[in-house]
């Protein structure tokens, strides 16, 4: 009985961890390429989910088609936002850029409230409701697909950044924009591409999250958990973000069950942040992050 419980908690934790991982991935992508911390990432996730919702329910598109159209739309929106709002801020102090992304987050949330209202909406999940049994643990199909999709994304991005030309130029741009520019890399293109890809990943995360919970304009709150995931994994590491997310998801679910009686309710909310503190003490750059070498 005890083991079954452990397996169940772990599996559900992995599912939630995958959501955190996806969101963290979006953060890391933008950070890795442009050195900007995009506070609007959770809202991009929310917006993507809502757009998918509209395409599928209002326009009655079949799920897969609607999903892909939403991805394309969000890529366009992400690129547009980057060109209009973020590009002019290149070179400005870090805090100013963060603030701009925060303002952007507000705008996106307001727009969502404006067009779709503030009520919680049921997302048309394509996954059947009956749970599957794996190793004695029940898991929703939506959760399985999320874990699988995240794993696939992990592999894709790992290979992308390591081996493809585009990926390497993105890493180069992050390391030193000016040198990358001098080397002939299309820096502007890299910036826009990073936002486009981050929006894509965000939409995927949003659709999955909405599938196993529901749609609401404050969905972005879940996105805050991605920050500990990023820290744990290392802020510029793609695989770190994903592994960090999974670890956070599993740990907080386990803590929520086993520790609630001793440490009070809400322990699962705080676990992620306690982990952050511990990691920061031991390994300030996270599990896989690269140590920044500063030249004076």
């Amino acid at each position: 009985m005890g083991f079954e419980i452990l397996v169940q908690l772990t599996v559900t934790g992995l599912a939630w961890g995958s959501v955190y991982a996806c969101i963290a991935l979006g953060f890391v992508l933008i950070f890795k390429s442009t050195d900007i911390f995009n506070f609007a990432q959770p809202e991009l996730m929310m917006f993507g989910a809502y757009i998918a919702f509209t395409l599928i329910t209002t326009l009655k598109l079949p799920f897969v088609l609607g999903f892909f159209c939403a991805l394309i739309l969000m890529i366009l929106i992400g690129s547009l936002l980057e060109m209009m709002v973020v590009r002019p801020m290149v070179g400005e102090p870090v805090l100013a850029v963060i603030m701009v992304t925060l303002g952007l987050a507000n705008v996106l949330r307001g727009l969502t409230g404006l067009f779709w209202g503030y009520e919680e909406l049921q997302f048309p999940s394509p996954f059947p409701e009956e749970p599957l049994m794996i190793f004695g643990a029940a898991i929703n199909q939506a959760e399985i697909y999320t874990i699988v999709a995240t794993a696939i994304l992990l592999v894709i991005f790992f290979l992308f950044f390591k081996y493809s030309g585009a990926g390497i130029s993105m890493r180069a741009t992050a390391e030193d924009t000016r040198t990358a520019f001098l080397m002939g890399i299309n820096v502007k293109g890299v910036f826009t591409a990073s936002w486009a890809i981050a929006s894509l990943v965000a939409t995927i995360a949003g659709v999955f999250l909405a599938s196993f919970t529901f749609l609401e304009p404050i969905m972005g709150h879940v996105g805050l958990k991605a920050l500990p995931a990023m820290i744990l994994g290392g802020m510029d590491s793609v695989h770190g973000a994903i592994i960090g997310g999974l670890i956070i998801g599993v740990t907080e679910n386990l803590a929520g069950f086993y520790l609630e009686d001793y440490l009070g309710s809400g322990i699962n909310e705080i676990t992620a942040y306690v982990i952050v503190l511990i990691v920061m003490m031991i390994r300030p750059y996270g599990l896989f992050g690269t140590k920044e070498i500063e030249r004076v």
Partner: protein, 412 residues
């Protein structure tokens, strides 16, 4: 030299600007003029509960039109209201309250809600001596201890928690139920836990409980804990979509209790869980639209008339609408009882003295000297997925341990 003049000029402009701002807000009366009574309300228009703001503003709009157009006003005065947005935030609520009282200078505050928002202004309400009728906030401290100026009208989860145990033992006659409570981790949820514990103590039963943080959507750990403790009957205190998530989660892990939801779960969003919602119980203090009582029929007519058929659909579809509408009817009666010479203190007395107010089946509402709890009776409803609605399975009843009794003393 020119620079000095420039700076001087700028300074003068600032002073003028400030004075202008001040002058624009001077008002003489406290909300009552010869031909108008000004009410104020603070609503969540753009925060997490913006749904509530939308419905309540609609209700207020209908009420205003009904009083002014159909009743011709109250003793020759029309009513008007002004709404401030507080986004469900206690700090903004304090700002909104101060604005309503000192800038808009309203006569009374009506149709509010929010436990943390209303808690933030409890002392201010007392200090400003302004009637607040009513608050639908779910926590006990709204009426316990009673605040002379604050009237509460909602459902008390503490009452309902006791009633769950009453119902299990006396009506369903369940042998050895294993009681559980899944609740939102704040004063609201805790009052539910307290109620169930009081009921359990009376009948010699034990209670398992698990809390979740407001806004949290992952209820896996909580559901697992309840299943591990073998809970067979579980009280749920929290919002409807989260209730749906809990139903789905419970189903997923193979935990199959009978749920008792509080009044907030009497909501179409409970059906986000599909047929999993079927057959569970809910506590409710209001009449249901499908019962076609005179109160609901009149409400339907008025809303459609004043807002238009389409705009009225949303508000009328909200099961909790009578919780906002009934107090407005009650308030109208009290205002008329005061006569032409209207003051805040007279209104308070009038509100205390109305007995057996006929709401046409919408639910009961009554106060008294020192009594600010307006709801005393509830019914148990059962959820029907086919009909996508909730149907009463008991008559109007009270919890077996009353508020103010020895086991449930009022706070000092």
């Amino acid at each position: 030299m020119k620079k000095k003049i420039l700076r001087f000029g700028v300074a003068i402009l600032c002073i003028l600007g400030v004075s202008f701002f001040a002058m624009a807000n001077v008002q003489a009366e406290v909300g009552v003029t010869d031909n108008k009574i000004l009410f104020g309300s603070f609503q969540d228009m753009s925060g997490p509960g913006a749904y509530l703001g939308k419905q309540c503003s609609a209700a207020l709009e209908v009420w205003k039109k009904w009083v002014n157009e159909d009743l011709g006003g109250i003793h020759g005065r029309k009513v008007d209201f002004v709404i401030e947005d507080m986004k469900y935030d206690p700090v903004l609520t304090k700002t909104a309250f101060t604005k309503l009282v000192h800038q808009h200078k309203v006569f009374a505050i009506i149709t509010v809600y929010g436990s943390t928002p209303c808690t933030a202004i409890l002392e201010d309400i007392k200090r400003e001596k302004i009637p607040v009728f009513t608050t639908a906030a779910t926590t006990q401290n709204m009426f316990d201890p009673p605040n002379r100026y604050l009237f509460w009208y909602a459902c008390s989860d503490e009452d309902n928690g006791i009633m769950m145990v009453d119902y299990l033992v006396n009506d369903l006659k369940v042998k050895n139920p294993k009681l559980g409570v899944v609740y939102q981790d704040d004063e609201w949820g805790k009052s539910a836990l307290k109620g169930v514990k009081l009921g359990a103590k009376k009948y010699g039963l034990k209670v398992a409980s698990s809390a979740y943080k407001r806004g949290s959507k992952n209820l896996n750990a909580q559901a697992m804990k309840m299943k591990a403790k073998g809970v067979t009957h579980c009280f749920y205190a929290g919002y409807a979509p989260v209730y749906a998530s809990l139903l789905k989660e419970a189903n997923k892990i193979g935990w199959k209790p009978v749920f008792f939801g509080d009044y907030v779960t009497v909501d179409p969003r409970a059906f986000m869980a599909g047929k999993l919602a079927h057959g569970h119980y809910h506590f409710f203090s209001l009449g249901m639209r499908h019962e076609r009582g005179p109160g609901w029929i009149k409400m339907e007519k008025l809303f459609a008339d004043k807002l238009g058929e389409d705009a009225a659909k949303g508000p009328l579809g909200w099961r909790i609408m009578p919780m906002m509408w009934t107090p407005l009817l009650f308030l109208t009666q009290a205002l008329e009882d005061c006569g032409r010479d209207l003051t805040r203190e007279k209104l308070i007395s009038a509100l205390e003295n109305i007995k057996d107010f006929d709401t046409g089946g919408l639910g009961k509402i009554q106060y008294g000297p020192g009594i600010r709890k307006g709801t005393h009776e509830y019914r148990v409803l059962k959820c029907d997925f086919e009909k996508k609605d909730f149907f009463p399975v008991t008559g109007w009843r009270q919890p077996s341990i009353l508020y103010g009794s020895k086991e449930r003393p009022a706070a000092k």
